[in-house]
Symmetry: C2
Subunit: 512 residues, 2 copies
């Protein structure tokens, strides 16, 4: 493909993408295909000779789009949003063109330096305390990770190594000796990571990856499923009584199932109450809800984090207008990361690699190479401005209010299970309606959920919290509007009535 | 930014990118800036109000490009290539537009299914044995990871968990019991991963991340720095004598420093010779050189892998025309991955999640979310065809031959240190020339290397192998041509003469 062919192909692709977004509201949000749909549509082997762009592009519409789940659709109410926007797409074009696995500063200085600057912009924009700015007093700073899961594994490794170094050093051992290695292997087997039973599954998976134990802190409906200080204390005491060494805790701002926020002040007070607990790495997972910190109303939450918090993470690629992947991880002390992650062979050394004023981000992450992801944060922050980003978050919060009002108007049918938060509404079929239909709320809620997604006009998520089967809806997509919220409620209402009455009720398709 | 603004912005971006590639040969490959260059050029805080695309785009040329290291430049001879191509850029545009963290099949079936199909295409194209095809007899298959490092960590976790499960089960323990957990923690402390001293540093880093010990197998110049069967046997015996349990080995096709290829047949024979060694996970890291398997000349190497190999990885984003990130990992048995990585909470369950005919790739990797990376492999394979991909690899191999011929013509000045392989030439200043200049080869080689990169007209890498300081050159970039190889040799030659004579010699800039 030469430059002229590329120009033509790119123009055609851009037109197709514009048309895609323009027509998205009238498309089904969920694909209407069964597993294995694609293989019969494609050749069994790669082509021997080059194909033209026309041939390739045709297959996007005919073979790929029928299998897409449209996360940008205004009918997408599942999980959390995962946005893309025009400025973010533009940045990906440049990122692909400037492609470089920029593992060292020297391997593409602009990639490293723009990341440092824009993450300081982000830290300012969401009101993070100074300790998380690259210019702050604690050698902190931000780094873009691929996902919150990757960020969690990264800080768990840093936490584990910091704790082991502390313990082995306190025993008088010397690093890089056989005695150190043997002792560290024994101590590692006693380490335990902690998270609430509402923490995202990436913490349990992270504990498995880094090879430590994991214990969950129970939460309760009466606490809104927040993790409380006392519940943390109880688990820490149980761990210590069993001879285990807690080294890491995930606290959450906006849990996956219900958007609960853990009680940071209480938990910090508990951790401060014993010297051994003061060494525990405290991570804040705000993957979705962290975006709300861009509004002044939420920023007081972040002020609490100026002490006692080792790391904070949120995904701009969820609610803050940047496309996947842009998971922003901030640490209080970068040396915690680099001490754990830095392995520098001869071929990665260069005259800049040991200078104190250069950052080699490969030592802040699991992979070696890295894409130029700072560009998309930079483009989005500039194209929207703080005003545009705030306005977008307010819109999502408003949609949550609309949902709450709508569900509140039908208390006969629906029970809102937890306090609505960050635009998320968690509900179930009311006990009253279930009893009238001669069934249990859980079974009916599940039936309604499965029917809605099988119909595929809107896409929602179910979960089980505190033993309660719930549905959750959230309207934060790029193209979302209040009319789609109301339309979604109508679909939920009709499907519920249909399930309760036991007969089909002709649920409507999406309104445009 | 509305659709019209996006259309205009994208057209302008595309023109800029075409112009960028057209003018790349006349640009310095290395930027001419010092650490910290960017911050003073940017505002200290994000903009309050939206900025126009013109304002944003201007800064690409004036602020970003001066800080880029041009991996696509034909003057880039460092590390390994990391290509981008026009079809690959087109795919990134669609990937950004269809953005979705497609962690489950249901979360975007096309994303999962295209990945399965194109990785089968890739497996066919590079002649991988059937056991690595998704349709093969061993429940194998491929998955796209972000980088070879990520792939290595992933298979190390799978290897560790498989070994621990085997050992604990053999002791009669039951999974999910406190006894199992305690015993596994003790056993884990005895596990040791193995790689040669030429294996990429990601294996040592991986061992640290997954929390096991690591031992290196020494290599020697007389074996071309290949890892041999006997050297593996010796390390395995030492480990077992020390009470350790080897569970994982990285073998390499094309090591980073010299492109050595480990002796797979010998190593397999050693591993087969003891029951405890038969359980060791064998990974092949072919991050760069694996691309050469697309030519029939190299495919016999892969035939050896039909037995005794658990996983294979190569990066299409190095030499095979796909932009970073597209690291293709193939496993012999997918259950090894999913048994280690699958943690499925309620909110990730759906009617498809337990069906045997669906694949949830989140259980094949560390992160939860994943980008639609299969598109770029698909586009590139179709736009180039197998014929175009082969032709490109032959070109890189030819450039290696040209380098070898040029260095061979100046044996008075240069010694080629290891057999040239996969287009890579590893050389140093000859002992004869060093003696004549009254210095040692290592010191002079380093001086020449540092001067070449400081001049910045070509970019090369140095390394230390077997205690020998070497330079390495490789011309495999998208825009590479033989004339740039000859130009690079002239620069190396002139700089060497200058360093040897102790006076500046006026090395030329790049020729276009």
């Amino acid at each position: 493909m030469d430059a002229d062919q590329f120009r033509q192909a790119a123009q055609s692709a851009i037109e197709e993408i514009i048309e895609h977004f323009n027509t998205l509201p009238s498309r089904r949000v969920l694909p209407n295909i069964e597993p294995g749909y694609l293989r019969p549509l494609l050749p069994q082997s790669p082509p021997k000779s080059p194909e033209s762009w026309d041939q390739i592009q045709q297959d996007i519409e005919s073979k790929i789009k029928p299998g897409l789940t449209h996360w940008q659709s205004p009918h997408f109410m599942a999980f959390f949003p995962a946005l893309t926007t025009y400025p973010s797409i533009l940045a990906e074009i440049y990122s692909a063109a400037f492609s470089a696995p920029a593992f060292n500063w020297l391997c593409s200085p602009a990639c490293t330096e723009l990341e440092i600057v824009v993450l300081d912009w982000v830290a300012q924009a969401i009101g993070l305390p100074e300790c998380f700015h690259s210019t702050g007093p604690t050698r902190g700073g931000g780094v873009i990770q691929g996902s919150a899961s990757e960020a969690v594994v990264t800080v768990m490794v840093a936490a584990r190594e910091r704790m082991l170094r502390d313990l082995a050093t306190a025993e008088g051992l010397k690093e890089d000796t056989p005695e150190w290695e043997d002792r560290v292997m024994v101590l590692r087997g006693k380490l335990v990571a902690i998270g609430s039973d509402q923490a995202h599954s990436c913490t349990a998976k992270g504990a498995r990856i880094v090879g430590t134990r994991y214990r969950t802190v129970p939460t309760a409906l009466e606490d809104n499923f927040d993790m409380t200080g006392e519940s943390v204390r109880k688990v820490l005491e149980e761990c210590e009584a069993a001879g285990l060494i807690p080294y890491y805790i995930t606290t959450t701002m906006g849990t996956t199932s219900t958007c609960a926020t853990d009680r940071f002040a209480e938990i910090k007070a508990v951790l401060a109450s014993r010297p051994s607990w003061q060494k525990i790495w405290v991570h804040i997972d705000a993957a979705y809800a962290g975006a709300a910190l861009i509004t002044p109303e939420y920023q007081p939450i972040a002020r609490e984090w100026s002490t006692g918090i080792d790391s904070f993470n949120f995904n701009m690629h969820k609610w803050l207008l940047v496309n996947f992947d842009a998971s922003c991880l901030f640490v209080r002390n970068r040396t915690d990361l680099t001490s754990a992650m830095d392995i520098t062979p001869a071929y990665l050394r260069n005259p800049y690699s040991d200078r104190p004023d250069t950052v080699d981000f490969r030592n802040w992450q699991i992979p070696l190479g890295r894409r130029f992801r700072a560009l998309k944060i930079w483009f989005v922050m500039r194209a929207y401005g703080l005003s545009g980003m705030k306005a977008f978050i307010y819109k999502g919060l408003h949609h949550g209010d609309v949902f709450v009002e709508l569900f509140g108007g039908r208390k006969d049918l629906f029970t809102v299970v937890t306090p609505p938060a960050f635009g998320l509404t968690v509900f179930r079929i009311s006990d009253e309606a279930a009893a009238a239909a001669g069934s249990a709320s859980g079974a009916l809620t599940r039936q309604v959920y499965e029917k809605i997604n099988a119909d595929g006009d809107i896409f929602i998520t179910s979960s089980v919290v505190g033993g309660i089967y719930v549905m959750r809806v959230l309207s934060g997509s790029w193209l979302s509007e209040e009319k789609y919220v109301r339309n979604a409620f109508e679909i939920i209402l009709k499907t519920t009535e249909e399930v309760l009455s036991g007969k089909p009720n002709g649920a409507e398709g999406p309104k445009n």
